[in-house]
Amino acid sequence: MELRPLNESNTNDKYKTYELFIGPNHPGISGNFSYVLDMEGHKIANVTADPGLLHRGFEKLMERRLWTQNLALIPRICVPEPDVNEVAYCMGVEHLAGIEVPKRAQYIRVIVLEMARIAAYLFSFSGVGGATGLYTAPNWAIGDRDYILDLFEWLTGGRVYHIYQYPGGVKMDIPDGWLDKLSELLDYLESRLPEYDNLIFKNPILQKRTKGVGYLSAEDAIENGITGPNLRASGVKWDIRKAQPYLVYDELDFDIPETGDGDAFSRFVQRRLEMEESIKILRQCIKQIPDGPYREKIPNPFQFRVPAGTYYSKVESSKGEFGYFIVSNGDIKPYRVYVRGPSYSAGLYYALEAMKNMRIEDVPVWIHSMDICPPDFDR
């Protein structure tokens, strides 16, 4: 332990400033991560981020596993929405190995991604409620999310981590009757949306709490590498699904909603509006999904060598751009994999700037409006 010189501790009046910990064991933070706040009264004078509590060394571990073995590892990087990891990784591997993915598999991937997106948005509804004290919202949202997890369980066998994608397609075909059930679930979720509106988004106290909090201008957002709904809520219409379509998103008809106020409330509303678009996409997928094979055969996984090269594959997740930079040297294992998590720049760097001079009661609202997922930092 480092001892502080006496004269220094004299100047630092302990009654003027004090330290407050948001995390790692705090109801206001959404993971194993901590912001250490230097408080002056109820204003934040300085913020320090304290990551590393969940560090498991994913990127290094991947270099020691076979290409297909990594599929069981990477979903753990993002807990609320694990599927983006699998899809981004598989897309990268397929591009390097030159595998053509069947149309049906691409549709199934879109279905899985959009279901995961809705589940993550429901999670963020629960974040709004938890941050402002509206505890009915988390309970309703997590309850509705469970119906999505039920369908995931039927499709993949896993509720949270699915490990369903595979280079060349998906592991299993859609079971009989699953799509009908999905369409029923979409009807149900759509019928719930007005309830959420009345409870959360039209709530005058919630609007008072969140409007004007944590304003993020479009320039600041681009400067700090903030993507996804947070960027779109600041008025920049950028969505990888539209700008650089992957899978079959160019065959689907959907809009990018725009709120554009840049404060916490508009970020919450942005997610709520995008959830409707996801439901629209899923309905189209159910109608348009073709018959055919669900996976392109790849060689024996123990002998599966990906040709040398590099590729950056990216997916639009519920939090922003989720990317995998994959380097292969032609071996049975990756040479290097770098993961770009969307929360990394917002939660670890921009937070230090954004939270200064904020009040303590705005901190959880800011964290949940940016939908920060601390496992992203520690890879």
Partner: protein
């Protein structure tokens, strides 16, 4: 005779604890149903208190112990003076001012206790609780003023007696603005949303409760239980015409508590300054209007 009164006082204290804990259990169940959950057993809070009092606890010094004990005992002392149906231990001495005074003592005791723990979260929570108290005491004082002028007495027993003879004689009907103001103030007194800034978990990790463990947390729960009983009890005596027996009294209390719970379930919490502003705008205005009506 004094010994008998003492026994009766202990009985009333136990009654308030039991009813308060039962209300807390029912609150958890009702809130759970609104939130589409099953919820814990109704008697869960009794189980919790028994468990907590059987645990080893960490003290933070003499002020900590004293503050928490003072918190519960001041409220228990206040309950003794509350007329509840046929149970009225001091019919000639049930001054409302004294009850309010004892209630404030309880919160100050709690404040002293938890802020001596040295945790900044607890201190912020206590500061918020006292600020909020400033918010709801003012409209409540305005309401009490109108009730005093209207009933021409300061004794709860006489206020209850003046409301006898049917629903239309209740102060709820006669002083509707005052009742509304007191209802909003009650929401703040109970610490239910949107006025629960003192224990905001996402912001200050449950505030005053953060350093309480074991027996101390048990004391905290008991204080909350007696607080619910006392605050709803005052409202029943002031506005719902008291009661002819204890069962009706508790039922009326529960009705008030139930309304508070429903509001609690669908609102987020205010910021502290917004909460106080709201209290000084809406209920205070209602209280003053009521007082003006009564005086003129």
């Amino acid at each position: 005779m004094i010994f008998l009164k003492l026994l009766e006082g202990i009985g009333v204290g136990l009654l308030s604890l039991t009813v308060g804990l039962l209300f807390m259990g029912l609150a958890r169940k009702i809130t759970a149903r609104i939130q589409r959950r099953y919820g814990p057993p109704v008697l869960q809070n009794f189980i919790d208190v028994f468990k907590l009092f059987s645990k080893q606890s960490i003290s933070h010094g003499f002020a900590f112990d004293l503050g928490l004990v003072a918190g519960v005992s001041a409220l228990l002392a206040a309950v003794v003076f509350l007329p509840m149906g046929q149970i009225n231990l001091f019919p000639h001495n049930s001054s409302l001012i004294m009850i309010i005074y004892l209630m404030t003592m309880a919160y100050l005791g709690m404040a002293m206790g938890v802020s001596s723990s040295g945790n900044p979260n607890a201190t912020i929570g206590v500061a918020r609780a006292l600020t909020m108290m400033m918010g709801y005491e003012l409209p409540f004082a305005a309401v009490i003023f109108s009730v005093y002028i209207f009933a021409k007495t300061g004794s709860l027993t006489n206020i209850v007696a003046a409301q006898g003879g049917g629903f239309l004689n209740w102060n709820m009907v006669r002083l509707p603005f005052g009742f509304l103001a007191a209802e909003i103030a009650l929401q703040g007194m109970l610490g239910e949303k949107p006025f629960d800034m003192a224990i905001a978990p996402a912001e200050i990790a449950s505030g005053p409760m953060v350093e309480l463990g074991g027996k101390y947390l048990g004391f905290g729960m008991l204080q909350h239980a007696v607080g619910i009983y006392l605050e709803t009890g005052i409202m029943v005596d002031l506005f719902l015409g008291g009661a002819s027996n204890i069962w009706i009294f508790v039922t009326k209390q529960f009705e008030l508590f139930f309304i508070a719970l429903l509001i609690n379930a669908v609102l987020p919490r205010f910021k502290i300054e917004d909460g106080v502003k709201f209290m000084w705008k809406v209920p205070l205005l209602l209280g003053v209007i009521q007082a003006l009506i009564v005086v003129l």
